[in-house]
């Protein structure tokens, strides 16, 4: 391995001068600066990260904690974090909690010592615990807000409003809400917004796992409740609703309209393409790493969202025109079912 010592020797200067030259600090003659640069170049010198970290106290890496890397929502945020970190010359250390709240503190501590700052995406832990963590060093939240901790979240209330306005404009008066996990910050936001906007007009179907399966489960409830439109916690759930409604013989969007949240890649690829509230995931990731910079207080950035209307929503059909859902649904592994 080639050290700064080697470079200094090759350039015929002292260690100190070499160091200053390379970190283009002031007080270095132009000639020396160049000598050193040349020597470093030709020797292929690369500063030792650990040594640098030891003296400066800065590691040049940011940490990222997500519940599940395989979830497209978090993957998108991770891409943003990664991209911004790279642009600013930092590396990113990721940790996946596997959706397990109880490991969050452990994961965070393990990472904390190795990074300059920590981006916590959708942490499930309590606001208090979050406060403690944040007091230990620079932390930024994504898709979660907590007092005293910088965060970048989304204007969920506005997203709900856009979705509801859209549905109302199409004539839907019986719209159901498929909730996300209890205790989830972003579900609370959606609920608060929707009840403020629609009040009792909204059929609350309850809380579901934020997965395809959760949507399947919710779809039957929506049907039983006589909903003509369904607003879902996220796209994965919406996809599950779509699949189940289809299996039960209800036409989308003719018989019922479905709206998702997030605008994950799959939303636009599915048939019918999903109407959903697009959320700037990657941008959130990028901004979060910028919030890690020591700048002053704890800003709460709220990114704008936008309803993208695709094919899963349409004007309400008169009740008489709606097919009645099948009560028996064929096994999904049976090829016969899936003909369309």
């Amino acid at each position: 391995m080639v050290t700064l010592r080697d470079v200094a020797r090759a350039a015929g200067v002292s260690l100190a001068t070499a160091s200053r030259a390379l970190s283009d600090a002031p007080h270095v003659s132009a000639t020396n600066r160049e000598q050193v640069a040349r020597a470093a170049q030709s020797l292929g010198y690369r500063p030792h990260p650990a040594a640098r970290a030891l003296t400066t106290g800065s590691t040049g890496t940011v940490g990222l904690v997500v519940p599940d890397l395989a979830n497209p929502f978090f993957a998108a945020v991770a891409k943003g974090v990664q991209a911004r970190a790279r642009e600013t010359g930092r590396e990113v250390l990721v940790a996946d909690t596997d959706e397990d709240v109880t490991v969050e503190p452990d994961v965070i501590t393990r990472l904390a010592d190795r990074v300059d700052g920590l981006v916590l995406c959708s942490p499930r832990m309590s606001a208090d615990a979050l406060g403690d963590v944040a007091s230990g060093g620079r932390v930024a939240l994504v898709n979660r807000e907590a007092p005293g901790v910088p965060s970048v979240s989304f204007d969920i209330a506005d997203g709900v409003r856009q979705a509801l306005d859209h549905l109302r404009a199409l004539g839907h008066d019986a719209v159901a809400y498929v909730g996300g996990p209890r205790g989830s910050w972003s579900d609370a936001e959606r609920r608060a917004a929707s009840s403020a906007l629609a009040g009792d007009a909204l059929l609350d179907l309850g809380s579901f796992r934020p997965t395809h399966g959760g949507g399947v489960q919710a779809a039957d409830l929506a049907l039983a409740a006589g909903a003509t439109a369904v607003l879902c916690f996220n796209d994965l759930v919406a996809l599950g609703v779509l699949a189940r409604l289809h299996a039960r013989g209800v036409a989308i969007p003719d018989d019922v309209s479905v709206v998702g949240f997030d605008d994950v890649a799959a939303a636009s690829l599915v048939t019918p393409a999903l109407t959903t509230v697009a959320v700037p995931l990657a941008r959130a990731g990028r901004e979060a790493v910028d919030l890690l910079a020591p700048g002053g207080d704890a800003p709460h950035r709220r990114l704008p969202v936008e309803l993208v209307v695709r094919s899963s929503t349409a004007p309400v059909a008169p009740a008489a025109d709606r097919r009645t859902p099948r009560t028996t649904v064929p096994r999904s592994t049976d090829p016969e079912v899936v003909i369309r």
Copy 2:
């Protein structure tokens, strides 16, 4: 910050003893060992990673380079890497090349100095370049093989065989292959296998981008070629094929059968559910981090794959029964289209 020095002082022993005690090295009296442990515990001592790295030369982190974190294939591998690293007490530093071959070397060098080992997933760079990189330190490949470099890949040939056998058993004789990117190692594997197995009986549709869009494009070609079954480079492509065939009014699996590769999550959620070759992605990630251990030579592990038959494949229909594809396809944003 609490250092080893503090712990030693609190325990009433020297630095060296404290160090030995904590790394449970031999030659430490039981009492001292316990004293130190207690002190460390109560002070909340955590060894400084950089300092440790500086002396030991080992960072306790593994690097992971993937083309695209948002691609479910790579996300699954990343989860495996992450899980295994965590189990073995290491952290993972990820880098996303954004599918850009030209940045691979740069990304790799930047990471190399900060990690004990590097997992390269589906690198696009040349075998030679790969060899150079690997010579610089411990490297393991995933979904790619190169002489002299440890790797874990998949038994692609067997996957192709299983898919082709399945299709043949269903009576398909006109099966088309939708290829992946030129120069891709795994596409080369598929091609080699399929031509060895089916020879001219297989209609080679050419190379396509390994995305939904690539599949859309390929679908029309498959129709024009009169294929009754389509084998795709991966699931994303297969999903594109499905969507396009559907849009053109051809029934799946009645009119044409479609097979994917990878068994990404979306494959089982879509309607009709996709028949595909399941590949142990997470396991590959895990095994790759195990290959990073200094053990001897350069093993090439080849993981078994398995065809999972779902609803996108069925026996060939007599030609007379097949609908003729639409020649005009409605805009995908038109809700009318997507009724099913």
